[in-house]
């Protein structure tokens, strides 16, 4: 496959479950610093796409290149270490730990067994935690047990945990689900700040929100890409309208 | 079960049997105790008072071995009750502390220490498997306790602190093999055992005897894990080898499976000669008489032995434990324990372990249900070897008996 300047280059990606092709010869390229939103009706394969990129699901065929490095054969934790972060659809945080601990645990040092044993929470870690907590608006909640955060705060915390690792590609699965209008606004701001020095892929249903944040939109349908481009262009695409209205 | 229910005849016999003891002493208990004050009969701090002597009983009442050990528990209790009914030992009643080894060797070790160190028992009747005996042996030696061990076993052991009341391997095996050669013209043997020390040692002795002394041939030797329940492949191998004699020492749950499957494969007493070291009346309960009919067992005791001692013993046993109770070889050997100890204590005039041990060699028990036994220098018993044929109703018919007492030889020369 070709060498590219893209952060992420997905080519001919296919995965099938018992003959059903959830992703079918898909190509996707994401630029550095780009915020890409993937939309599509339910069952289009959006989440599966993210699963494939982060290694949760193994591809049947095709390639996923991250900074020109093949990812399809790597185990999940190596993909993360290469610089890809993934947020799950439902907030996945350590409910029993404090916000501080949640962020601290995500700090990319002491990732091996013995590294973790010898890990010290030094000034660098604390500084990083403070920085991120500030960014996600939880600076005054550091000692709170994470399970007691509001739903929106949990989503932010999970994003914060990813940011602790400074990933070059961040993948967010429905980050504003269940958020209030005010929280959505804050999240949009947050995303804009985040993608200043990294690429972001977001799966989202809320078109208003998508319009607000997206640099470029990809529309998926039945495991394939239906359309790709700027938001207004995609919205006026008859194929897209057909898919959304037809279902 | 209490003493007044005992039939009078066995009591009289046992009184006679306590040979060395004058009748008068047994009858005037109090006078006896006074004549032998506790300070004199107990110089090592055992649990002996003016009226009582404490002994331990250590068997598995639970776990897989409970199947086998229950008979020993009952027989020892019966003997102790009978002794107490006669006035006890040196004027002192025996009190038993029962401990459950739970078929677990570390538990045996723990309980034996408890009996010796905490309870200071004068002696212990107990253990069944070699493994449990091996587990407690160092403790008996260290604490200088005394153990009466009832099971027929592999030999290769002799301890100051143990009296072995069952047969050691050569006593059980050699006569049986000679009988097989003479009476059944057996020349080829197929050896089968459960995979542990007793069958392996027994088979080693059998092989030596057959090959070196009988000019026979071993056509197969197989060991199966304890608890193994499928013998069909083995049975096919036997069918190929066509031995004159199947010589078996399979134990526990495997035993039942082995005989049921032999029968199902058409190998019955009518068609094949089989001699075993491990089927007593106890095992027969599980095996079922119809599966063992016509096969032979080599033991020193069978419930059907026809002598007065045994008749009284069987009657007392059934009276105590119900008409359906059966008595196997080990049960009888366990019954000997308390009587041998009584005789030794009375000969020594003391409960001290060292003195009892010193008095033990030469102790005779003409009242033994198996006939007559005597303790050898090496702490095993002189006893006769017997062969019996299994009957469809689960009993044994004795068909042969060694003319002389077999000398116990735990370290047989030429068989190592």
């Amino acid at each position: 496959m070709s060498n590219t300047d893209f952060v992420l280059a997905v080519e001919d990606l296919t995965v099938s479950f018992d003959g059903f092709k959830a992703i079918d010869s898909l190509n996707l390229y994401v630029d550095r610093g780009e915020l890409r939103v993937v939309i599509g009706p339910n069952g289009a394969g959006k989440t599966t796409l993210l699963d494939l990129i982060c290694g949760k699901t193994k591809a049947s065929a095709g390639s996923i290149k991250f900074k020109n490095q093949e990812m399809t054969r790597l185990p999940e934790h190596m993909i993360v270490r290469a610089g890809i972060g993934r947020k799950f659809q439902t907030p996945s945080i350590y409910e029993n730990l404090s916000v501080f601990k949640n962020l601290e645990v995500s700090y990319p040092r002491g990732r091996g067994v013995f590294g973790a044993l010898g890990f010290k929470c030094d000034e660098a870690v604390k500084a990083k935690v403070d920085e991120i907590a500030d960014m996600i608006g939880l600076a005054d909640r550091l000692e709170l047990e994470a399970g007691l955060l509001s739903h929106g705060q949990k989503q932010w915390l999970e994003i914060g945990m990813l940011l602790m690792q400074d990933p070059e590609l961040l993948m967010l699965d429905e980050p504003i689900a269940g958020m209030s209008a005010r929280e959505r606004e804050l999240t949009a701001e947050l995303l804009k700040r985040i993608c200043r020095n990294r690429s972001v892929i977001v799966i989202e249903h809320d078109m208003e929100f998508v319009a607000r944040i997206a640099h470029k939109v990809t529309v998926m349908h039945q495991g394939k890409i239906l359309a790709e481009g700027a938001m207004d262009k995609v919205q006026s695409d008859p194929k897209v309208i057909d898919v959304y209205l037809g279902h | 079960m209490s003493d007044q229910h005992l039939p009078s005849s066995p009591r009289r016999k046992f009184m006679l049997g306590a040979a060395a003891l004058p009748l008068a002493l047994a009858m005037s208990r109090i006078g006896h105790a006074a004549a032998l004050p506790t300070a004199q009969v107990n110089t090592t701090g055992l649990a002996v008072t003016d009226t009582e002597v404490v002994v331990g009983q250590l068997h598995s009442a639970t776990g897989t071995m409970a199947i086998s050990e229950t008979g020993s528990i009952q027989a020892e209790q019966l003997a102790i009750d009978q002794i107490n009914a006669m006035g006890g030992i040196l004027g002192r009643k025996i009190r038993v502390i029962k401990e459950d080894g739970a078929s677990d060797w570390p538990t045996f070790a723990e309980k034996s220490r408890k009996l010796l160190v905490n309870d200071k028992v004068a002696t212990v009747f107990g253990c069944w498997t070699s493994a449990s005996r091996k587990a407690v042996l160092p403790i008996f030696e260290k604490e200088n306790g005394l153990l009466y061990y009832p099971t027929f076993y592999e030999g290769l052991e002799q301890s100051k602190n143990v009296i072995y009341t069952g047969q050691e391997a050569t006593q059980q095996i050699l006569y049986g093999l000679d009988w097989a050669k003479q009476e059944k013209s057996a020349k080829t043997f197929f050896l089968i055992g459960s995979d542990y020390i007793w069958p392996r040692t027994s088979m080693k002795i059998a092989r030596k005897h057959v090959e070196a002394f009988q000019g026979g041939k071993i056509v197969g030797e197989e060991y199966y894990p304890l608890g193994h329940t499928n013998f069909n492949s083995l049975i096919n191998k036997i069918k190929i080898a066509k031995p004159d004699c199947i010589f078996a020492a399979v134990v526990g749950g495997s035993n039942v499976a082995f005989y049921k499957q032999l029968k199902a494969a058409g190998i019955t007493g009518a068609r094949q000669f089989l001699l075993t070291l491990s089927v007593t009346e106890d095992e027969m309960l599980g095996v079922g008489g119809e599966n063992f009919a016509g096969f032979y067992s080599s033991m020193k005791y069978f419930q059907s032995l026809d002598n007065a001692n045994n008749k009284a013993f069987v009657e007392a046993f059934k009276k105590a434990y119900g008409p359906k109770a059966v008595i196997g070889d080990v049960t009888q050997a366990a019954y000997l324990g308390p009587w041998l100890w009584k005789a030794a204590v009375e000969k020594a005039g003391s409960f001290d372990v060292d003195k009892v041990v010193a008095a033990s060699p030469g102790i005779e028990l003409p009242t033994a249900p198996e006939g007559y036994v005597k303790i050898h220098e090496n702490h095993h018993l002189y006893s006769k070897a017997r062969i019996a044929e299994g009957q469809p109703d689960g009993s044994f018919k004795v068909v042969a008996e060694s003319p002389e007492l077999m000398v116990p030889d735990p370290f047989p020369k030429g068989y190592q």
């Binding site: - | 060991y223 191998k237 749950g253 499957q261 058409g266 095992e283 079922g288």
Partner: protein, 304 residues
């Protein structure tokens, strides 16, 4: 050795493998149903087998003393009773213990372990610590001598037939009956099954009880080939677990294949090696395969 003899031995050895297969499958089946369909490890499985065996013993004693004329006929009826009795105790155990622990599958293991201890002691107290031997009808004993030198064990054929019957019945019930549909629905998605009106509580109880009932049948059948005592169940439990584990737990088909594989390996290696070595070889083979394929032979394919 003549050709005839080799031919006979080969046939008998083939049957030995088959009958071991039947034994392993029958003992594993109940466990596989409970484990595969409910995720519960029933450590008391062996004791439910013992219940079945004792049922046979009690009925044979009753028949012998009250209706000796029926001795030839009681056995099939007794096997049915063994199923019913074990089923009833299984039902009770599910109600008293298991249903409280569905959210903690590992804890069912500890609870049923406690149950097995109590059951063993109950057998000892109620029936006696020694082994017993039920009197079997004459037609179940001995061998069928096809030709001179070729003996096929009747009890082996009986167990084989019973296994085929029970396995077929289970498969049929699981894939054709309402109960089977409910079980499969519950396994696939408990919440959804509940929502569609399936009484999952009842389904679980029946499933557990059926698993125990089959254990009872196995125990009953094994009175023809093995021992009956308070701890007889422990002779089988381990092999039963191996069969289920090796088969992949989730599928009954896996249990069948694994029982067949283990039986053939063991039976053939026993023929050519010594008994203990054969056992070790079989176990090592199982473990090696499990190391390479820890999910067992037939893992259910799930999207993770």
């Amino acid at each position: 050795m003549s050709f005839d003899e080799i031919y006979n031995i080969t046939l008998m050895q083939g049957f030995a493998g088959l009958s071991l297969f039947a034994v392993l499958l029958l003992m594993g089946l109940g466990l596989a149903i409970i484990f595969g369909q409910m995720g519960v490890i029933n450590m008391a499985h062996g004791e439910f087998m013992t219940i079945g065996a004792y049922t046979i013993f009690l009925l044979s004693s009753l028949t012998e003393s009250h209706a000796p004329g029926l001795m030839q006929a009681y056995f099939p009826f007794a096997i049915l009773c063994a199923f019913i009795v074990a089923f009833a105790f299984g039902w009770l155990a599910e109600w008293a213990l298991i249903r409280h622990l569905y959210k903690r599958p590992l804890d069912t293991l500890l609870a049923t372990w406690g149950l097995s201890l109590a059951m063993q002691q109950a057998f000892r107290t109620l029936i006696g610590p020694k082994e017993v031997s039920p009197t079997l009808p004459d037609w179940l004993m001995g061998s069928w001598e096809v030709t001179e030198g070729l003996d096929i064990p009747i009890n082996g054929m009986f167990v084989l037939g019973l296994t085929v019957l029970v396995t077929g019945g289970v498969l049929l019930a699981l894939y054709k009956s309402r109960w089977g549909l409910r079980v499969r629905a519950t396994v696939a998605n408990r919440a959804m099954a509940n929502a569609t009106g399936i009484n999952t509580t009842r389904t679980d109880r029946v499933t557990f009880a059926i698993g125990c009932g089959i254990a009872g049948v196995a125990g009953a059948a094994f009175t023809t080939i093995g021992s009956t005592g308070p701890t007889s169940g422990s002779l089988y439990i381990v092999d039963a677990f191996l069969v289920v584990t090796f088969g992949g737990a989730a599928s009954l088909w896996g249990t069948v294949v694994s029982a067949f594989g283990i039986a053939q390996t063991q039976s053939i290696s026993e023929f050519f090696l010594s008994g203990s070595m054969a056992k070790v070889l079989t176990l090592l083979l199982i473990v090696t395969i499990l190391m390479l394929r820890p999910q067992g032979l037939f893992a259910s394919k799930v999207r993770r």
